[in-house]
C-alpha cells in the first residue's frame, strides 16, 4: 500500500506539472524515412493515369470492380474478396459508376472511369513498401546505411514499379506481407524490455491484422503467415526454456499470441466475407455456380421466381429438379418427345423410349409432377399431403405425361449404368419400372418432409436400387448435346451428381392435360422467403472458391517457376495502338542477379559457420551470429516459402507470382553486403575497396533502372532500334511493330 500511495502522489505531481512548465512537443523525424517515402510516392504515382487504357490484368480485376459498383454478386476463384474490395474502394472514392465493358486489353477507358483513383491504392501500397523495407532492416538491427540500400533497391526495382502502377493486387499483397513482418519484428524487439505494454500490444495485433489482410488479398499471403507463425512458435519455444518466467505469465504470453495471431486473423478473414456478401446482394452472372438456397437469398434472379413458393413438396406438386453438382454446368432434369435411337453408332441397342436428359436452361420441359403411385390424380389434394423421406413416388413429365423410368438397358454413353427414360409402352414385354424412393440426404430425422430448395434428395429406383445420376457426359447430336442422365447401380457413398433439389415449385391445380400445359407455361408466384445464415453462405462461397477450377489455360506469357530466378521471361502489359510505346513487367536485371548471388552466399556462409560452430570454432561474435540467423530466417525463409510452393502447383503461372519472393530476396542483398564488409574485410584497405565496389555496383543498378524506364512507365516511346537494344535476353518478348 505504501507504493500505491507513492504512485498517487506521483500522478498528481505530473497532472499539475503542465501548470509549471510549458507544454513541449518534441517530434523525432527520420529524414531518411521521409525522403524515401517521398521518392517512393513519386516513382509510383508519377503519371498514374497514363496510359488511359486497360492494361493487362486490369481487364480481369476491372470487371469485379464494376460488379461491386453495381452490387452484383460474383464468385472469383483466384482469391478471397479483400483485394477486390480495396480496388473497388478506389473506384468508389473516384465516383465510378461501374459502366465499362472490360473485354479487351488495350481498350481505351471511357470518360466515366476514374483511372487515377482506381490505380491509386495499389500505387500507394507499392510506394509504402520502400520505407517498410528500410524499417525492416533497421528492426533487424542492421545499419542505417544497409537499410537505406535495401529501400533504394526496392525503389529502383522496375518490376515492382510496373506492378504497383496499375489496378493489380500484387503490390497490395507485398505491402501487407512487409507490414506483417515489420510489426512482428517491432513486437519481438519490444518483447525484451516492455511486454504487455501498449505498443507491445499494438505491434502484436498489427501483425495479426496485416497477416489476415495479406491472406485476404491473395491466398499466397498464407505462406508468409505460416512463416511468421513458425517464427513466433520458435520464439515462444525459447521462452518456455526461460526459467525466470512463471508458468502463469507463460500462459498469458501464449494466450496473447494465440489471440492476436490466430483468432483475430480468422475473425478478420470472416469479416471480409461478411462485407463482401453484404455489399453484393443482387443476382448476377455467377449465380448458377451456387446452390438454389444461396441464389434465393440474392435479390432478383432466382429469388424473384421462387418468392412465395410453397415450402413442402406434396403429392401433385409441379417441380423442377436441379442437379446439385453444378458441373460441368448447372442443369435441370428434362425430357422431350424425342426417343433414344434404336441403335447407337457403336452398334449397341437402346430401349427406343423417350429421352431423359439434364438441360442447362430453363424450359417448360423441365417440369415434373410428383405422383402417388396408388392414386390417379395429378393435383394437390386439400389439405396437401406432403412427401416425406422414404416415400415412394412416381415422377410424371409435365408436358408429355410420361413416367420417369429406368431399366436394365445400358445408358447411351455410360454403358456401366442404366438408361433412364420416360416410359413408352411398345408392348414388347418390357414392363414399366417407374417407382422411385425419395431419400432426403440432408435430413435431420427420418420423417423429414421434402422441402423446396432446402432438401437435397436422392431418387432410388425401387426395382433395381439404381440412383438417378448426372453422368457429366454430353449426348451426341440426337440428344441435342444435352447432358446424360443415368441410373447408377454401384452407388457408393455420397456424390453430388446423384443429388437433386427442387428449385421451382407450385401446387398443381389442373386435372386436365390441356389446362395443365397452360399452368406449366405460366410463371410461378407465391410467397415465402428463405434467408441463409451468414456462416452457411460463407461456407458455401469459400468452398466454391477453393474448388472451382477454371479450365487449365495456357497463356502467351505464362512461364514456369524455374524461369523466374533467371528472369528468362517477361510479360507485355500494354502496347500503344500506334507508336512503339509499351509497358513490360521486367525486373532490374542487376538487382535480380545480385539477389540470387546474395541468397547463394548466405546459404554457403551459413553452412560454413554452422559446421565450424559445431566444431567449436567461432568466426563471428555471438550477437552478430544471432543477427545473421534472424535476418536469414526472415529473408531467405520469406523467399523460400513464397517461391518453392509454386513447383507443386498445377495452375498457370506468371512472372508476377514471383514478386513477393523476390522482394524478400532483395532485402537480403544489403544484409549480406554489410556482413561481408563487417566481418570478412579485415583491413581498412579491403574495406574501402569493398565500399568502392558497392558504389560501382549500385550505379549499375541505377543505370539498368534508367535503361528500362521507358518500358516500365510506357513513355517515352522508343524506336525500333532502341527496342531491339533492350532485348537483352533472347527469351524476352519485346514487341516490335512491323513497318
Amino acid at each position: 500500500s505504501n507504493s500505491q500511495l507513492f504512485k498517487r502522489e506521483d500522478t498528481s505531481d505530473t497532472m499539475l506539472g503542465f501548470l509549471r512548465k510549458p507544454v513541449v512537443v518534441t517530434a523525432e523525424i527520420n529524414m531518411n524515412l521521409v525522403a524515401l517515402t517521398v521518392m517512393g510516392l513519386i516513382s509510383r504515382l508519377w503519371g498514374l493515369s497514363y496510359p488511359r487504357a486497360v492494361v493487362f490484368d486490369e481487364v480481369y480485376y476491372g470487371q469485379f470492380v464494376s460488379l461491386y459498383m453495381k452490387r452484383i454478386f460474383f464468385v472469383d476463384d483466384s482469391g478471397p474478396p479483400f483485394g477486390h474490395m480495396l480496388l473497388a474502394l478506389g473506384g468508389y472514392l473516384g465516383g465510378f459508376d461501374g459502366n465499362f465493358l472490360w473485354n479487351r486489353i488495350g481498350a481505351e477507358y471511357s470518360m466515366n472511369v476514374p483511372v487515377w483513383s482506381l490505380r491509386l491504392l495499389p500505387a500507394l501500397a507499392g510506394a509504402l513498401c520502400v520505407p517498410l523495407a528500410y524499417q525492416i532492416l533497421v528492426e533487424l538491427q542492421f545499419s542505417h546505411c544497409a537499410a537505406l540500400g535495401a529501400a533504394l533497391l526496392i525503389l529502383l526495382e522496375n518490376s515492382l514499379i510496373t506492378q504497383s502502377r496499375f489496378m493489380l493486387l500484387e503490390s497490395v499483397l507485398i505491402f501487407f506481407i512487409l507490414l506483417a513482418v515489420l510489426s512482428y519484428l517491432k513486437f519481438y524487439n519490444l518483447q525484451r524490455h516492455s511486454y504487455f505494454s501498449g505498443s507491445w500490444w499494438f505491434w502484436l495485433l498489427l501483425t495479426g491484422v496485416a497477416c489476415s489482410c495479406a491472406v485476404g488479398v491473395k491466398y499466397m499471403g498464407l505462406f508468409t503467415y505460416m512463416l511468421l507463425l513458425a517464427i513466433a512458435g520458435l520464439h515462444f519455444w525459447h521462452m518456455i526454456g526461460d526459467q525466470n518466467l512463471s508458468n502463469v505469465s507463460l500462459m498469458c504470453h501464449f494466450l496473447a499470441r494465440g489471440l492476436a495471431l490466430i483468432i483475430i486473423p480468422v475473425a478478420m478473414y470472416l469479416s471480409f466475407f461478411y462485407v463482401h456478401l453484404t455489399l453484393l446482394y443482387r443476382s448476377g452472372p455467377h449465380d448458377q455456380i451456387m446452390t438454389s438456397a444461396f441464389q434465393a437469398s440474392l435479390e432478383g434472379g432466382l429469388a424473384r421466381i421462387t418468392q412465395g413458393q410453397p415450402l413442402e413438396v406434396a403429392y401433385g406438386s409441379q417441380i423442377t429438379l436441379r442437379n446439385v453438382l453444378g458441373k460441368p454446368m448447372q442443369c435441370w432434369l428434362h425430357s422431350h418427345t424425342n426417343t433414344y435411337p434404336i441403335r447407337y453408332e457403336n452398334g449397341r441397342g437402346s430401349s427406343h423410349q423417350q429421352q431423359v436428359t439434364c438441360y442447362p436452361f430453363k424450359d417448360v420441359n423441365n417440369w415434373w409432377i410428383v405422383k402417388d403411385p396408388g392414386m390417379q390424380q395429378l393435383v394437390v389434394s386439400n389439405p396437401p399431403r406432403p412427401v416425406r423421406h422414404g416415400h415412394i413416388v412416381q415422377l410424371v413429365h409435365g408436358i408429355t405425361t410420361r413416367y420417369l423410368n429406368t431399366h436394365d438397358v445400358a445408358a447411351p454413353l455410360s454403358p456401366h449404368s442404366q438408361e433412364v427414360s420416360c416410359y413408352i409402352d411398345y408392348n414388347i414385354s418390357m414392363p414399366a419400372q417407374n417407382l422411385w424412393r425419395v431419400e432426403i440426404v440432408n435430413r435431420e430425422s427420418d420423417t423429414d418432409v421434402w422441402k423446396t430448395i432446402l432438401s437435397e434428395v436422392r431418387f432410388v429406383h425401387v426395382n433395381t436400387s439404381a440412383v438417378l445420376k448426372l453422368s457429366g457426359a454430353s449426348l451426341p447430336e440426337w440428344g441435342y448435346r444435352q447432358l446424360e442422365v443415368v441410373g447408377e447401380k454401384l452407388s457408393k457413398g455420397y456424390h453430388q451428381s446423384m443429388v437433386w433439389n427442387v428449385e421451382e415449385h407450385r401446387y398443381g391445380k389442373s386435372q386436365e392435360q390441356k389446362e395443365r400445359e397452360v399452368e406449366l407455361h405460366s410463371p410461378t408466384q407465391m410467397d415465402i422467403s428463405k434467408n441463409l445464415s451468414f456462416m452457411a453462405k460463407f461456407t458455401e462461397l469459400q468452398w466454391k472458391i477453393l474448388t472451382l477450377k477454371n479450365e487449365d489455360t495456357e497463356h502467351k506469357y505464362s512461364s514456369s517457376a524455374l524461369d523466374w530466378i533467371t528472369m528468362d521471361t517477361n510479360i507485355a502489359y500494354w502496347l500503344h495502338p500506334t507508336s512503339g510505346a509499351q509497358i513490360h513487367l521486367l525486373g532490374n536485371v542487376v538487382t535480380w542477379a545480385s539477389a540470387n548471388i546474395a541468397a547463394l552466399v548466405y546459404t554457403c556462409l551459413s553452412l560454413w559457420y554452422l559446421i565450424r560452430r559445431r566444431r567449436k570454432i567461432y568466426d563471428v561474435p555471438e550477437d552478430a551470429w544471432q543477427l545473421w540467423v534472424s535476418a536469414g530466417g526472415i529473408c531467405v525463409g520469406g523467399w523460400a516459402v513464397n517461391y518453392l510452393p509454386f513447383f507443386l502447383m498445377e495452375k498457370t503461372l506468371f512472372l508476377y507470382h514471383y514478386l513477393p519472393a523476390v522482394t524478400f530476396q532483395i532485402l537480403l542483398i544489403p544484409i549480406v553486403l554489410q556482413h561481408l564488409s563487417d566481418h570478412l574485410c579485415r583491413s581498412l584497405l579491403l574495406k574501402s575497396m569493398f565500399s568502392a565496389l558497392i558504389v560501382a555496383w549500385f550505379s549499375s543498378v541505377y543505370f539498368v533502372y534508367c535503361t528500362f524506364r521507358p518500358v516500365t512507365y510506357g513513355e517515352p516511346s522508343l524506336s525500333v532500334t532502341e527496342l531491339k537494344d533492350l532485348r537483352w535476353k533472347d527469351s524476352w518478348n519485346i514487341l516490335i511493330r512491323k513497318q
Binding site: G241, Q243, N247, E345, T553, I611, R614, R615
Partner: protein, 638 residues
C-alpha cells in the same frame, strides 16, 4: 492352399515373373528387382513360366505356383521379427516389442497382403530390413569401425538398394535413412574428440547395377545415315524429358473431339507405327531419283508409313489443351491438302543447312496456321489408348515440348555412320529410363469403375480391396486391416503427439525427472521420433500424387504406425506405473494394461480372420451371413 486361382494383382506380377523365366523383354512402371526375385523363386521351385495369368479367376491347374507364393509369404512373415527387433532396440522394452509383433501377427491386412505373388511383401521386407539395420547400426555408433558396425551399415545399404529396386516407394525409406544419417553426422561433428569425420556410403551403386542390366537401348551399335534426305523413313522423338515418339494409328478421334480424323499421338515405346516418311510438299520422290537432302527451312510433308496419311493440322481445338490446334493424320495414300505442309527448321541454324540425325533439334512449323508441332505431355483418355497428346501450339515459345529430333533413320541410298560417338552416358540413360518409369507411374489414371481410394481413407480403414471372389458362392478374400488394430494405431498417433508435446515442454521447463523417467522421455523423443518420421515420410507424399492410389499403398506406413503403437503404449503404461510407483498396484497396472491390449487384439483377430483366410456364403450386408455383425462401416464390402 485353397486359392487355386490368381487373385487381383497376381495376374500382373506373376506374368512378369513368367517373362523373366522366358527371357522376354517388357516394360513396367516398377523397377525390376521385385519381379526378378519372383521369377527366381518360380524358377527354383520348378515353375515353367507357361501359365498365362490372363485374368483373376483362371485356375492354376497343374502349374507350380506355390514356390512364388511361398517366397512372398516367407518375406511377409519376416516382418514380424524385424519389427520386434527394431522396437526392442529402440525402446529396450520387451513388452513394447511383443505388442508390436502381436499387432503385425494378428493384422488381417498384413496377412492377406503377404499371401500372394505381389511386390508389397518384398518391398516391406527390404524396408523393414533397412529400418532394423539402421537402428542397429545407430546403437553400434559408440564403437565405430567394429565388425558389427560394418555389418549393420552394409546391410542398411543392401536393404535400401533392395527397397528402391522393388518399388519407387522405397525412395521414402532412403530419405528416412538419409535424414537419420545427417542427424548422426551432425552429432559426430559436435563431438570434438573425433578428429576424422567418417562418411557413410549407401551402396546405391548396387541399385544402379541392377538397372543397367535392363537397359536395352536400340542405339547401341547401330549405324544410320547422318543427313536427312527426301524419301527417308524416320522416327521423331520429342525432346522433353521422357517425351515420346510421334505416332499415329488407324483409330480416329472420337465424335465431338475436333475433326473425326486419324489420331496422332506421342508414344513412349518403340513401335512400327512411329515411322514416318519425309516427302516433298508437292511431289513424291521417285525411288530412282538421285538423293536430295532436306535443308533447314524446307517445306515438307510427313507421311505415316503404316497408314499412308499425312501429318495434318487445322483450326480445330486439340483434345485436351483447348488453346492448341488438333493434329491429325489426313489424306489417302499420301494425297492430302495444303494443311499437310510443314516447315522444318533446326534450332540455331541458318537456311540451307543440312539436317542431322539425333544431333539437330528440329522445329516443325505448320505453314497454313503458323503453329508449331509439340507434345503437351498430357495423357489422352481411353479412346487415345492413354498415349500422350500431340498438338500444334500457336505460342511460339521455345520449349523442349515443341522440339524434336530424328532418332531412327532408314534410307538405303545413303551411307551409314556409326553412332557410338553419340551414345549418351550411363547416367543419362539411367535418368531417362527412370523418367519414363515415373511418367508411366503417374500416368496411371483411374479408369471408369475402378476401385480407387483417397489417402485419408487409409488410416481409418475406410475401405478395403476386393482380392478375389465377387459373388456369394465364391470363396472371397478381402484386404482390410483388422479394424481394432488400425483404430488403435490411429488413436495412438494422437496419444503420441500429446505425450511428446508434454514431455518436450516439461524438459524445456527444466522439470526434474528421475533417471527412469529421463530414459523414458529419451525413448519417446528419439525412438518414437524416428518411427513417426518414417510414418510421415511413407504417408504424406501420397497426398500430393496424381496417380491412382490403392489401399495397399498405406501398408509401409502402417508398419511404422504399429511400431509406434508398441512404443507409445509401453511408455504410457510405464508413466502410469511410475506415477503410482510406491504402491503395489503399479506393476499390476502395467501388466494388466498389456494383457488387455494383447487379448483385445487376439479377440479381434478371431472375429475378422475370415477376411484373409477366405469367406464363403452370403455377403455381410445379408443378416444370415457369418460376417453379418462385423460390417462396422457401411463402406466395407465383404
Amino acid at each position: 492352399c485353397l486359392f487355386v486361382f490368381p487373385s487381383w494383382d497376381e495376374t500382373h506380377f506373376g506374368k512378369m515373373g513368367s517373362y523373366y523365366i522366358n527371357r522376354t523383354f517388357f516394360f513396367d512402371v516398377h523397377p525390376p528387382l521385385g519381379k526378378m526375385l519372383i521369377g527366381l523363386a518360380g524358377y527354383l521351385s520348378g515353375y515353367d513360366g507357361t501359365f498365362p495369368f490372363q485374368k483373376p479367376g483362371d485356375r492354376y491347374e497343374q502349374h507350380n505356383y506355390m514356390g512364388m507364393r511361398g517366397f512372398c509369404a516367407f518375406l511377409g512373415s519376416c516382418l514380424v521379427p524385424f519389427a520386434y527387433l527394431t522396437v526392442l532396440e529402440l525402446s529396450k522394452s520387451l513388452p513394447a516389442a511383443l505388442l508390436t509383433a502381436c499387432i503385425l501377427i494378428f493384422d488381417t491386412g498384413c496377412i492377406t497382403l503377404s499371401q500372394y505373388i505381389l511386390l508389397d511383401p518384398i518391398l516391406m521386407f527390404f524396408l523393414m530390413g533397412a529400418v532394423l539395420s539402421m537402428v542397429k547400426s545407430n546403437s553400434c555408433a559408440d564403437r565405430p569401425f567394429s565388425a558389427s558396425w560394418w555389418l549393420w551399415l552394409s546391410l542398411t545399404g543392401v536393404n535400401l538398394a533392395g527397397a528402391t529396386g522393388v518399388k519407387f516407394v522405397g525412395l521414402f525409406v532412403v530419405l528416412l535413412v538419409g535424414l537419420n544419417t545427417i542427424y548422426d553426422l551432425w552429432d559426430l561433428l559436435g563431438n570434438l574428440s573425433l578428429s576424422l569425420v567418417s562418411v557413410r556410403n549407401f551402396s546405391l551403386s548396387l541399385y544402379a547395377s541392377f538397372q543397367s542390366q535392363l537397359i536395352g537401348n536400340n542405339l547401341h551399335n547401330v549405324s544410320v545415315p547422318e543427313h536427312l534426305a527426301y524419301g527417308s523413313v524416320v522416327t521423331m522423338k520429342n525432346l522433353r524429358m521422357a517425351g515420346g515418339y510421334l505416332h499415329s494409328h488407324w483409330h480416329l478421334y472420337p465424335e465431338g473431339i475436333g475433326a473425326r480424323q486419324q489420331q496422332v499421338t506421342a508414344y513412349l515405346h518403340k513401335d512400327s507405327n512411329n515411322l514416318w516418311i519425309i516427302k516433298k510438299h508437292d511431289s513424291d520422290t521417285a525411288p530412282s531419283s538421285p538423293v536430295e537432302f532436306v535443308r533447314h527451312g524446307d517445306i515438307i510433308r510427313l507421311e505415316h508409313k503404316e497408314t499412308s496419311r499425312n501429318l495434318h493440322s487445322h483450326q480445330h481445338e486439340a483434345p485436351l489443351t483447348r488453346k492448341h490446334f488438333q493434329v491429325t493424320g489426313y489424306g489417302i495414300n499420301g494425297t492430302g491438302d495444303s494443311n499437310d505442309f510443314w516447315r522444318i527448321e533446326v534450332v540455331g541454324r541458318k537456311t540451307g543447312k543440312l539436317i542431322k540425325v539425333l544431333r539437330s533439334q528440329v522445329r516443325l512449323t505448320h505453314v497454313a496456321t503458323g503453329c508449331i508441332l509439340g507434345s503437351s505431355g498430357k495423357t489422352l483418355p481411353k479412346w487415345g489408348w492413354e498415349q500422350v497428346e500431340v498438338t500444334c501450339t500457336p505460342y511460339l515459345k521455345e520449349t523442349p515440348n515443341s522440339l524434336w529430333n530424328f532418332e531412327d533413320h532408314i534410307n538405303p541410298k545413303l551411307p551409314n555412320i556409326s553412332l557410338d560417338v553419340l551414345k549418351p552416358s550411363f547416367a543419362e540413360i539411367l535418368l531417362e529410363s527412370h523418367m519414363v518409369m515415373i511418367r508411366g507411374n503417374s500416368g496411371l489414371k483411374p479408369k471408369d469403375n475402378e476401385v480407387t481410394s483417397k489417402p485419408w481413407h487409409w488410416p481409418i480403414n475406410y475401405q478395403g480391396l476386393r482380392f478375389s471372389g465377387v459373388n456369394e458362392t465364391d470363396y472371397r478374400v478381402y484386404l482390410l486391416g483388422n479394424p481394432v488394430i488400425w483404430w488403435l494405431n490411429l488413436v495412438t498417433i494422437g496419444l503420441y503427439l500429446l505425450i511428446t508435446i508434454s514431455t518436450a515442454v516439461a524438459l524445456k521447463r527444466g522439470v526434474q525427472l528421475t533417471s527412469e523417467l529421463k530414459e523414458l522421455s529419451r525413448v519417446v523423443l528419439r525412438g518414437g521420433g524416428q518411427i513417426t518420421l518414417g510414418w510421415l515420410l511413407h504417408y504424406l507424399p501420397f497426398f500430393m500424387m496424381g496417380r491412382v492410389l490403392y489401399f495397399h499403398h498405406y501398408f509401409p506406413a502402417m508398419l511404422f504406425s504399429s511400431m509406434l503403437t508398441g512404443i507409445t503404449w509401453d511408455t504410457l503404461l510405464k508413466f502410469c506405473a511410475a506415477f503410482l510407483s510406491p504402491s503395489t498396484i503399479a506393476r499390476k497396472v502395467y501388466g494388466g494394461g498389456f494383457l488387455a491390449l494383447v487379448l483385445l487384439i487376439m479377440y479381434s483377430f478371431y472375429l475378422f480372420h475370415p477376411l484373409s483366410y477366405g469367406m464363403i456364403g452370403p455377403m455381410a450386408s445379408d443378416p444370415s451371413s457369418p460376417m453379418a455383425g462385423l460390417r462396422w462401416m457401411d463402406s466395407w464390402e465383404f
